[in-house]
């Protein structure tokens, strides 16, 4: 490995390793468009959706995230899908999960990557066709003593 290719020597900044290309970042506008592609322009209500994500993230490589939706999860009234969006990663649409009455509860936990402090939005698609959303602001600190890419 030649010195010029090392990303080492950096006591701060995990950002380069997660997503190095600033031109590849999404924007709040792209997030809005990605949300519209899912809702097809339908009204999004605020509420029912709780996004649990640590307000201060110690390393953007692995950010624990849970979404719960207030729903009885019956045949007649349940959550069909949960979507996560962000406004700063290269791709605004982070994931979508398919749920149904057999889920019992509308709950999803996973871990995502975040390349900077930003706003995260969770949107639930209900069986009646309605959309509900919750959001959280996340602050990503920088990792200390980062290793070079091996």
């Amino acid at each position: 490995m030649s010195p010029s290719t090392r990303r080492a020597f950096v006591i701060g900044s995990a950002i380069a390793a997660v997503m190095p290309l600033s031109s590849a970042r999404a924007t709040p506008e792209q997030m809005r468009k990605a949300i519209e592609a899912v809702t097809r322009g339908a009204k999004i209500n605020t509420g029912k959706v709780t996004l649990d994500i640590p307000p201060l993230v110690e390393n953007g490589h692995t950010v624990p995230l849970s979404v719960t939706v207030d729903s009885p999860m019956t045949d007649a009234d349940h959550v069909r899908a949960i979507h996560i969006f962000n406004e700063n990663n290269p791709q605004p649409h982070v994931l979508h999960a398919n749920l149904g009455p057999r889920s019992g509860r509308a709950l999803l936990s996973t871990r995502i990557k975040l390349n900077a402090s930003q706003r995260i939005v969770a949107i639930a698609e209900l069986s009646d066709g309605g959309f509900w959303s919750g959001a959280a602001e996340v602050v990503v600190t920088l990792a200390a003593c980062v290793e070079e890419i091996v």
């Binding site: 010195p3 090392r6 020597f9 950096v10 701060g12 900044s13 402090s117 600190t141």
Partner: protein, 140 residues
């Protein structure tokens, strides 16, 4: 003109140029030229170049997560003279051997320096002057 440029190049091609310490200061510019405060601000704020904000806080409202291991840079230009700041950036260990502040313009007496950095100071003479010029603007 060509001769002058060649001389400058020769002077800067060594690891570090000579400095004269007077008391607790280096009164003379390392390059013979005044630094540029705007460039200096960028060096100080850059966490891969100046590294300053890993330990210091300072008047950088746009920079989150500044360190708290060292005094704030705010008011540095009022507390110290230009020459005093220059010595503190060049080699703070001359004033306090136990300091955690890295020697920004020294290559001698260092142990086990990584190959990529061997014989190179952390900042160039011009960067040191830019940083000093910026710190001198921090009067409050």
């Amino acid at each position: 003109m060509r001769v002058v440029l060649l001389l400058v190049a020769l002077l800067l091609s060594g690891p570090v140029s000579a400095q004269t310490v007077v008391g607790d200061a280096i009164p003379q510019s390392l390059t013979g030229e005044p630094g540029d405060a705007a460039r200096g601000r960028a060096v100080v704020a850059n966490r891969q170049v100046g590294l300053c904000l890993l330990c210091h806080t300072g008047p950088f409202p746009e920079e989150r997560f500044q360190g708290n291991l060292a005094p704030s840079l705010s008011g540095a230009g009022a507390r110290w003279s230009e020459g005093q700041l220059r010595l503190r950036v060049v080699d703070a260990g001359r004033l306090n051997p136990a300091t955690i502040m890295p020697p920004y313009y020294r290559t001698e007496g260092l142990e086990r320096v990584a190959r990529a950095f061997a014989g190179k100071p952390i900042l160039s003479a011009a960067q040191v002057e830019d940083v000093v010029a910026f710190l001198m603007t921090l009067k409050e």
